[in-house]
Subunit: 336 residues, 2 copies
DNA sequence: GTGAAAGCGCTAACAT
DNA sequence: ATGTTAGCGCTTTCAC
């Protein structure tokens, strides 16, 4: 079933069929209806490869993230996919893992597949000169929209959440309620990771608290490692009276350690994920607004594809906010 | 950069270039090396659309699931993507949601995109005659491999986990340790959902326990609804002394209700997800072996694409197993 | 073993 | 408003 069959059936040329296919207005309504009817009847569907060949586009958007099995990325992919689909855009998914080499490979794969645009979720590159150069080159060939990652590169549009301010606010609320020795646990210093710790430090500074390097720990991105760490710190009697973590997963590990040791203190996580709801106590968490970032990113993509890229902000910053649950509430956790 | 450029640079015809591109053996090694070198040097990469047009294949596999933001689907997608990628196959992702109409639409989209195969994760269709007919038709046009869904349809290969037996085993272990009034909470009766409840019932029967319909509840796929339900049942003094749930998410909700009410009894979930590790108490859960199912499914896809489909089992069944954690251990939970 | 040439199904410039 | 035709970049007969 090709354009030729439809043309023949309607007694018109393939050009006319192609026109109605592409919604050209240079076709008489009556003819259009005729063609449309034939398409309907014969259940015609244009060959995407042929179309791709001609237009150099198959209306596919590459989505790259480190790991869809992670709740944060999974949610982002889900939101993005939904919105892209609504606009008739298909999603080709790549899970890069954390290695820079693999990420480059994936970008190249997307490029080779001639995707119309790439949405990068999370911070895929370090700020090494080399790596930046690489992505600069890619961005020259295909528009890139990043979600929660910031880079000042031509043809790259960044949609980020200002997590920093909520981290800062958290510190301030904790300090205001008497908790000034705040353990900070993080796993990685991606763009987002840097913003978070910056917020933590800003908060300390603003409250006139001197940063204590012994209260800052880097762990692997696992629940159990964090649990083990906090358990150890508690045993060592490291003096801290609150815990903040860069991710819910880590925060939950910390909570487990607290519960096991019979201790209690405020804990604040980030991502406002299902883990925050399920954990015990339920976890106060920073919501980084994927529900806003993702649609916004998709919106940018569609505008870029319409050629309206130059009317778009290179950075869009959304506010984050704190969702209070049992692990910390500003009212109830004041030290007496 | 096209095949013509390479041909010109090597002083051969495009046919020869095409041959080395496709690994034909009808080309002299020396010529091959020449062409290969030129490709390397000029950084040539074949246009996938043109290739697609000729071969009617872009080496893309459609992956369909209801919702990647769900931990179970996310894990499956992650595993499948990884293995497909290893074989040079790309993933085009579709999140269908639960409505049958949407699922049909997505299948059609994949068909229209001329994917080489479709991997269906979870049970997408009910067993209505109509719906089956629909997927029968699709399966005639593109091979389908399902993960954790069973349908006896030509050209559909099913890779499933026998969750039933672990549900049965769970009931038996519970009963053996004195817990014979087992609350069963489920959200949906997909293929997998049916197997699970069947296992529950088989277990009861095997242990000579009469099934009590008042102990079986259907809830929405949310943590909080389950929590609310169990809280209510506890308040009503419904007599049950253990809880099984079709999913970890529900089981965690049940645990929350128990903890809040100060009660304690065995709880068993399913999926062995991160939730099972993070919850309090940690959740005994049934592992449905995605790590085995997914690679197996991908393996089938590659074989089908090589034309070895007829040498493949139409159903592959993997065993599940119980992972014991704090919420139930056969040794420690015996009623005295 | 290699080349010439005919498609694959569509888009778009050009002609009418 | 509609038709003709030349590509798009590759695969694949069919000759040689």
């Amino acid at each position: 079933m090709t354009i030729y069959d439809i043309a023949k059936a309607c007694g018109v040329s393939i050009a006319t069929v192609s026109r109605v296919l592409n919604g050209s207005n240079k076709v008489r309504p009556k003819t259009r209806d005729l063609v449309l009817a034939a398409m309907q009847e014969q259940n015609y569907c244009p060959n995407p490869f042929a179309r791709g060949l001609g237009l150099d586009s198959m209306k596919m958007i590459g989505i790259l993230c480190e790991d869809v099995s992670d709740a944060f990325f999974a949610k982002a992919v889900s939101l993005v996919e939904h919105d892209l689909r609504e606009r008739g855009l298909d999603v080709i998914l790549g899970c890069t893992g954390q290695e820079v080499a693999a990420k480059k490979k994936y970008l190249q794969i997307m490029l080779n597949k001639h995707v119309d645009a790439i949405i990068l979720i999370g911070s895929p590159f370090r700020d090494d000169v080399d790596n930046n150069q690489y992505i600069v080159d890619i961005a020259k060939k295909v528009p890139i929209v990043t979600i929660n990652s910031l880079m000042e590169i031509d043809n790259i549009y960044c949609v980020v959440c200002d997590e920093s301010s909520s981290f800062r606010q958290s510190v301030e609320l904790l300090a205001a309620s008497g908790h000034k020795s705040i353990l900070y646990i993080y796993d990685r210093l991606t763009y987002s990771g840097q913003q978070k710790i910056k917020g933590y430090r800003d908060g300390l500074m603003h409250m006139g608290i001197k940063e204590n390097p012994k209260l800052i720990y880097k762990v692997r991105h696992t629940f159990s490692d964090t649990q083990a760490l906090v358990t150890k710190l508690l045993e060592e009697n490291l003096p801290f009276d609150a815990i903040m973590a860069s991710e819910d997963l880590l925060a939950v590990g910390a909570e487990k350690a607290l519960v096991a040791s019979g201790r209690s203190m405020p804990v604040i996580g980030c991502n406002n994920s299902i883990l925050a709801e399920c954990s015990t106590p339920t976890l106060t968490s920073i919501d980084n607004r994927l529900e806003m970032l993702c649609p916004n990113a998709v919106d940018m993509v569609t505008k870029i594809l319409r050629g309206e890229g130059n009317a778009l902000p290179s950075k869009s910053i959304f506010p984050s906010y704190l969702v209070f649950r049992d692990s910390f509430h500003p009212d109830i956790f004041s030290k007496k």
